[in-house]
Every structure is written in structure tokens, then in C-alpha cells.
């Protein structure tokens, strides 16, 4: 098997590494680069646990061919906030009780971030449509939706300042 060189930006940092043609993006992020925040729940694009943002859009990294990330900007949960300065979504997920087992959380937050990056006034339905591909078995989704709404408000308020 021929290894290919993949170059892309991961959380703002330029990456260059060898991948197999059959590798998916989640293989690269989790196994090769060790960023295990992104989870793998089904391996078939059916649960959203592996959601990352690629060029501004949420994707299931378990079915995106790794090579498709060539020259792309990829964001994962590790790249959107630090413990000193969390992303507002991370704060509101914590404060609104949107996190239980936490396995869906990284993907859920990345889906929500892709939405809020382009829309700070989403409707409840838009939020539901955004996270409909992210299965959560713990929360019943309501607190997650509330957390996304609250994060939108926070972001809006900080922007208006």
C-alpha cells in the first residue's frame, strides 16, 4: 500500500504526515495524532460522536477519507478552548447540565460550534436540525439545546460589546 502525504491545518497548526489511502479522518486525528477528544461511536456516520469541523462545516470524521482533509482547516474539541479560556459552548454545556456520560459531548459541541460560527441567533428548530445527527442517549437533548441557545447569547453579548 502506498502511503500518501497529508497536509492540513489541525486546530490552527500545520500538520504533515503519512496516511493510508483507506484511512478516515478520525483514524488520523485519534490514532495517528493522539487527539482522543474526538470519539468514535459507530464508525458509520450514524451517531455524530466523531464530529469535527472541516472548512467551517461539521462532518463525521469516521467516514471522511483522510485525504479529503488535504489543505483543509480542521477543528477538533481540543482546539476550541483552554481551561483558562473555554469556548462559551464548553461553559454552557457544563453549566446547563448538558453533559452526562460525555461521550457525545465533543461531537455535539463541534456541531453546535459550526452552527454558531455562522449564526448567533439560531432558532430552537435550527439547533435541533444541527444536532440531529449527534446521538445522545443520556440527556434527552433538552439541556443541550438550552446550552447552545445560552452560548449563542453569550457570544452575541461579547460581540456587541
Amino acid at each position: 500500500m502506498q502511503k500518501k502525504i497529508l497536509k492540513f491545518k489541525l486546530n490552527g497548526e500545520l500538520m504533515e504526515l503519512l496516511v493510508s489511502p483507506s484511512d478516515t479522518l478520525v483514524d488520523v486525528v485519534r490514532d495517528k495524532l493522539g487527539l482522543t477528544g474526538t470519539k468514535k461511536g459507530c464508525g458509520k456516520g450514524e451517531c455524530g460522536a466523531c464530529t469535527v469541523i472541516m472548512n467551517g462545516q461539521s462532518v463525521n470524521s469516521c467516514i471522511v477519507p483522510a485525504m479529503q482533509a488535504m489543505d483543509a482547516e480542521v477543528e477538533t474539541i481540543e482546539g476550541i478552548g483552554t481551561s483558562d479560556k473555554m469556548h462559551p459552548l464548553q461553559e454552557t454545556f457544563i453549566d446547563y447540565g448538558a453533559i452526562q456520560c460525555g461521550f457525545c459531548t465533543p461531537g455535539m459541541i463541534m456541531s453546535a460550534k459550526a452552527l454558531l460560527d455562522g449564526n448567533l441567533s439560531p432558532s430552537r428548530l435550527q439547533i435541533k436540525e444541527t444536532i440531529a445527527g449527534n446521538i445522545c442517549r443520556c440527556t434527552g437533548y433538552v439541556k443541550i439545546e438550552q446550552a447552545v441557545l445560552a452560548a449563542a447569547d453569550k457570544l452575541k453579548a461579547s460581540k456587541d460589546k
Binding site: 502506498q2 489511502p21 458509520k44 477519507p65
Partner: protein, 287 residues
């Protein structure tokens, strides 16, 4: 065994590559199905030829009353396109009901047709729009009506190891034309349809100038309800006629028993409801 992955930068490059690999390379776009099929060993190929970086394939354009959607255009791009939302709203609706947002962000509309699944939402809408697929290969370019694209379940006229579906095109809806896409599924997202129906209807004054009714999955490919269409053509449409047309449409369909998504009997009866609802909705939007 997969040995290579090539990111094509132009259609020409892709065609050269197909030729070089002589049947051992395979075109993919979003790759959402291809990666799964590869790991499940449903398909084998030596090389994946990715066309998502080909700029000319990423456009949604309006040309002489035709809308052209490139092979690398995703469902999300179609759903959010103002052009599609105003000139082919049923397609926006159909693309918007595929899988989940993450899938829609990578899977392509043309891929939805080339995959040749009998109930692919966008393909059903495209058939109602009278879409034509542009197929490019070494020998030149040809145009194939979407209805002729299906050779069997999961089997497309386009051989992705030799040819490339480069775009799909259809006439933009005009004033007096209405459309609808309706769907019955077991949940609000991440669900294949138990049934889907697309209708495009053209009114001339009060009469039906023409209508296309497409139903799925009720046959190995999305199925035109030709008899029902004929029945409505030229008629002054009303609820009674719509109800009759829906019954005729059902008589043309042969849905199968699905252990996962409903019995044949249920699907038949629901088909009548869906066709009726789609026609009513299309009529409302046409007026």
C-alpha cells in the same frame, strides 16, 4: 486492495487518471458511502479518485432557464442555495432530509443519483424536475435523462471506473409551476424514508399543463406514476381528481415488504396518502 488515493484538480486530470488505471480506479465525491462500502468489501478498487477539489464541479449555476449542479456540490449547498430554494424548492427540501447535517455537508447530490439507491431523496426530487445527467468520458460528453440512469438497485448507468457524472441539470420552475417533496420516515433525522414522493406540476390557467409524480421506494428505482400523470394532464384539478390520481399512482407501484421500514401493504396505502398530499401541496405552490 486499495493502494492509492488521488485528489483530482480538474476533470481532464480525472479522466486521464481513470484511463491510466484502466478500470482499477474509482471516482468518489463525498465518499460517505464509498468508505463504508470499501471497508465492508462491497466494492474493491485500487485507487480512489476524489473529485471534491475540482473547482468547476462545485458550482450551482443558472443557464438559459436550466439549473446546473456540479458533481462536487453537497446536499447542504443545495439546501442552502437561494437559487434552488426559489427555483426548485422540492430539491432543497429533499436534500435537506438526507441523513444528518454532517452527512449533508459531505455527501453530494450527484452522488445521490450515481449511487442508484431506489429511495435516495434528492434523486427522487430530481426525477420530478426532469433532470438530465451529464456524463463525461474519454470519448466525449453525453446527456442521460435521470430515469435512464438506473440499471438496477445500486447499479448506475455511470461506470465510475470509466466515466464521470460531471453535473446534473434541470429546468428552473416557472411561475405557475408548483412542487412538493413529502416523506414518511420513522424518525425526524438519520432515517431512510419508508416512502418519499416528489411532484412538479405546471398549471396553465386552471388546467394541468403537465405533472410529474415520482415515488420511492416502490420499484428498483424511483418510479414515475405515468398513468396518474396522464390522468391529470389537461384536467381542471380539484380534490376529487387528486384523490383519484393518487389511487392510480398506487396501482402503478409495487413496494416490497421491508422488515425494517414497513410492509408492502402499509407502504401501498401510505403511498396514496403521500401522493395526495404532495399533489395538494404542489397545487398550492403553483397557484
Amino acid at each position: 486492495m486499495l493502494k492509492d488515493y488521488i485528489l483530482a484538480t480538474s476533470i481532464e486530470e480525472a479522466l486521464v487518471c481513470l484511463k491510466t488505471y484502466a478500470g482499477q480506479a474509482r471516482i468518489i465525491a463525498g465518499g460517505t458511502d464509498a468508505m463504508l462500502d470499501l471497508s465492508a468489501k462491497k466494492i474493491t478498487t485500487s485507487c480512489l479518485l476524489d473529485i471534491t477539489k475540482v473547482k468547476e464541479l462545485k458550482k450551482i449555476e443558472s443557464m438559459d432557464g436550466q439549473i446546473v449542479i456540479g458533481a462536487a456540490v453537497t446536499h447542504s449547498e443545495v439546501k442552502n442555495s437561494d437559487l434552488i430554494r426559489t427555483k426548485a424548492p422540492l430539491l432543497a427540501e429533499a436534500s435537506g432530509s438526507v441523513g444528518s447535517l454532517q452527512i449533508r455537508n459531505t455527501a453530494t447530490v450527484v452522488g445521490n443519483v450515481v449511487n442508484a439507491q431506489p429511495a435516495a431523496d434528492a434523486a427522487v426530487a430530481l426525477m420530478a424536475l426532469g433532470a438530465v445527467v451529464e456524463i463525461t468520458e474519454d470519448a466525449g460528453t453525453s446527456y442521460v435523462p435521470i430515469e435512464e440512469m438506473y440499471l438496477g438497485v445500486g447499479k448506475s448507468k455511470v461506470d465510475s471506473t470509466k466515466q464521470m457524472a460531471t453535473s446534473i441539470r434541470f429546468p428552473a420552475l416557472l411561475p405557475g409551476q408548483g412542487s412538493a417533496f413529502v416523506r414518511l420516515a420513522q424518525r425526524g433525522a438519520l432515517a431512510l424514508p419508508m416512502l418519499n414522493v416528489a411532484v412538479v406540476l405546471s398549471l396553465c390557467e386552471d388546467k394541468v399543463e403537465w405533472v410529474r409524480i415520482v415515488m420511492a421506494p416502490v420499484a428498483p428505482k424511483p418510479l414515475r406514476a405515468l398513468e396518474a400523470e396522464k390522468y391529470l394532464q389537461g384536467a381542471v384539478i380539484n380534490d376529487e381528481l387528486i384523490a383519484k390520481a393518487a389511487k392510480i399512482a398506487v396501482s402503478e407501484a409495487t413496494p416490497r415488504d421491508s422488515a425494517l421500514r414497513g410492509s408492502a401493504e402499509y407502504r401501498k396505502e401510505m403511498l396514496e396518502v403521500l401522493v395526495r398530499r404532495a399533489l395538494q401541496q404542489a397545487l398550492t405552490t403553483a397557484r
